[in-house]
Symmetry: C2
Subunit: 399 residues, 2 copies
């Protein structure tokens, strides 16, 4: 399966993947998904949001509300992303079904392999769009306003891909009583712990804050340094302060996006806007870190004669996964005693958990710790342990 | 005259001017220029680069190589610029001719009022394009490669404005033996000295350097701070170091333009590119300041695990104006004892001086010290002193 997907949407220059929702590469991945379902006799159901599930229903298994076990992940990538983020969970789900069938296991509940659409938000800017629509976390009205970088609305993009969109809560989740998502780890926690597999405890709170630094445009040659009100300096000090605060607390603070106005080589800027991505262990520590960074920025603004205003563009509270389920997954299979670890990245599993579905995640060790980059990686041996762990999990949940 | 030009190309929102070469606002200024020439009986000559001169030739004045006295400035503005940068020199030139005629002065040499095209480089990116073409500092082949932000080539833009371009050295300068440009001051030197007028000694050396900071793209949530190679941090420290070095030496260093890749809120950047604008009192001190800033950047890059490479995109050596001429202008008119000061901004006068034409500049005090901004200003009283000073200068040079 991995060899089939390998070349799809891969850029020759960087080796990175470009699989944006409803484009040709992502649709090719989706066609592959349908083939794999057909090869295993899974019954395919799709919703009007672009999400798809292939169901393994053993003969005579009763269809009851809340008795289905769902696994799977997503097939889309960030721009210039890695091979594993998303597809590893889908491939491992199919492989786990193969393992269970080899074991002669006959599930007494339906087992579904899901592929959620636009998990990365790389085209329409809203991460976990598919799972958010199906759970109602995002309304159809909100989604209809979304446009990609070329101004193409979501519904038009779906129609251009041959879909018949019908946005909103979908029946796909009606029977689902539990969801398990396997994912490549996006940090180095498992590398440091020497563990091939980890089980998720929670997703850290996550905030995106816009910092607007305002100063006074002026001539870069003739204006004496002491006469300037240069917002770039206030920004630079704030970016260094954010890094320091996050290092001190063992949390995360990043300024990765910046826009200067007028952005001319020979002009002191009138304005610099930069976005802080902050992720902390608790909601309280997120608020505290933001306050510290803003405070240091304001202090510098006072010295530079500039001003700083901070706007929260999105704040996601902590998501705690089902603790009982996590404990059972971590200890209850052959040879495993997997650590239970927090993650700082958003996932469809977080959206389903927030919607009240008992949810768990399995992480596969990533030797580089790098993600959202062509350098993302996983060892084959660890991936095979992941498949076994997922198979064990599904077997226990669907007994 | 000032009232005629006031509304042309002015944005209602900011009060700033948008007079880019060959666009409608700049052409309206050019039409005004022709009207003012006609009203004074000046003979208009244009070259194929878009530069224009109106000549005052008294009856019987012999046309001899090198006997003409040229003044004037430019009519284009930076994006969202002030009212005075350029037009003050052109308006004052016409007014000075009116003063001389009121005095009954009959010049024994031709006196020309020039309007140079694209002094700011705001459309085609190369400052002093008109004077550079007419002196041969820029070749027609180089100029033909220039395109504006919309991809329009220089020649097409000129043709669209109804011109018949013929780029290259022009006969307009053949008879010119001396050039005097009046300009609004772009700093606060004259404010601090309490002088209405200053005379230019030199233009400081000026370099534009591209700083490429390269790191490693990664996930802004899951990547621990200590595992990152974040080029934004290296940039931020370098920007603060540049400011500090320039403050210490009393010179200028500005990072006003920046581009991050991929410039995503949730991604540690793989690359940050920023441009340093540096202006120093001497060529040696420019080199020294660049070396100090680059050294501090390299030191931080070592700590961040990033790399820094610096590319000189343009370096202009110091331009010394005619020292005898400056001394004569500063002392030799009624009531004036004007300071001789350096400027950190480029001017057409610098290009003509570098081409071997004895050249001088007069600056008019700017109360705000702000330039390249709608807040640029000059007092009417100071402007009138400027006209008198320019008239005195032309009278002495054309006797």
């Amino acid at each position: 399966m991995w060899q089939d997907l390998g070349p799809v949407g891969r850029a020759a220059s960087s080796g990175g993947y470009f699989r944006q929702p409803f484009d040709s590469a992502e649709r090719e991945c989706h066609a592959w998904f349908l083939q794999e379902c057909a090869a295993r006799g899974l019954e395919v159901e799709a919703d009007g949001n672009g999400n798809t599930v292939g169901w393994w229903r053993a003969p005579g298994v009763a269809e009851q509300p809340g008795n289905a076990v769902l696994t799977g992940s997503h097939l889309d990538s960030v721009l210039d992303g890695g091979a594993y983020d998303g597809p590893l969970g889908v491939v491992s789900s199919f492989a786990a079904i193969d393992v269970l069938r080899d074991r002669g296991f006959v599930p007494s509940r339906p087992i579904g392999v899901g592929a959620f659409v636009e998990e990365e938000g790389s085209r329409f800017g809203l991460a976990c769009l598919g799972s958010r629509l199906m759970t109602g976390a995002t309304t159809p009205e909100q989604a209809q306003e979304l446009r990609d970088r070329n101004g193409v609305p979501l519904l038009d993009a779906m129609a251009a891909a041959g879909l018949e969109p019908s946005l909103g809560s979908s029946a796909l989740l009606n029977g689902v009583g539990v969801f398990v998502e396997l994912h490549v780890e996006q940090g180095r926690d498992l590398v440091d712990r020497g563990a091939a597999i980890g089980v998720a405890s929670e997703i850290w709170p996550h905030g995106r804050f816009r910092f607007d630094f305002t100063g006074e445009a002026n001539h870069a040659g003739t204006t004496r340094m002491e006469d300037r009100h240069d917002p770039m300096l206030t920004y630079a000090m704030t970016a260094l302060a954010a890094n320091k605060q996050a290092r001190l607390s063992g949390e995360r603070a990043t300024f990765g996006r910046i826009e200067a106005v007028p952005n001319g080589t020979n002009a002191v800027p009138s304005r610099v806007t930069a976005w802080l991505d902050a992720r902390c262990a608790t909601d309280a520590s997120l608020e505290r870190m933001l306050a510290e960074i803003e405070g240091l920025g304001q202090e510098r603004a006072g010295r530079d004669g500039t001003s700083l205003s901070v706007t929260a563009e999105s704040v996601s509270r902590a998501v705690g996964f089902d603790a009982d389920l996590a404990r059972r997954l971590a200890v209850d299979h052959t040879g495993g005693d997997w650590p239970i670890i927090a993650t700082q990245a958003g996932h469809d599993a977080g959206v389903l958990s927030a919607a009240g579905i008992p949810t768990a995640m399995l992480f596969v060790r990533n030797p580089t710790g790098i993600s959202h980059s062509p350098a993302e990686s996983a060892e084959i041996a660890d991936c095979l342990v992941g498949v076994e762990a997922l198979a064990d999990t599904l077997e226990r949940l669907a007994e």
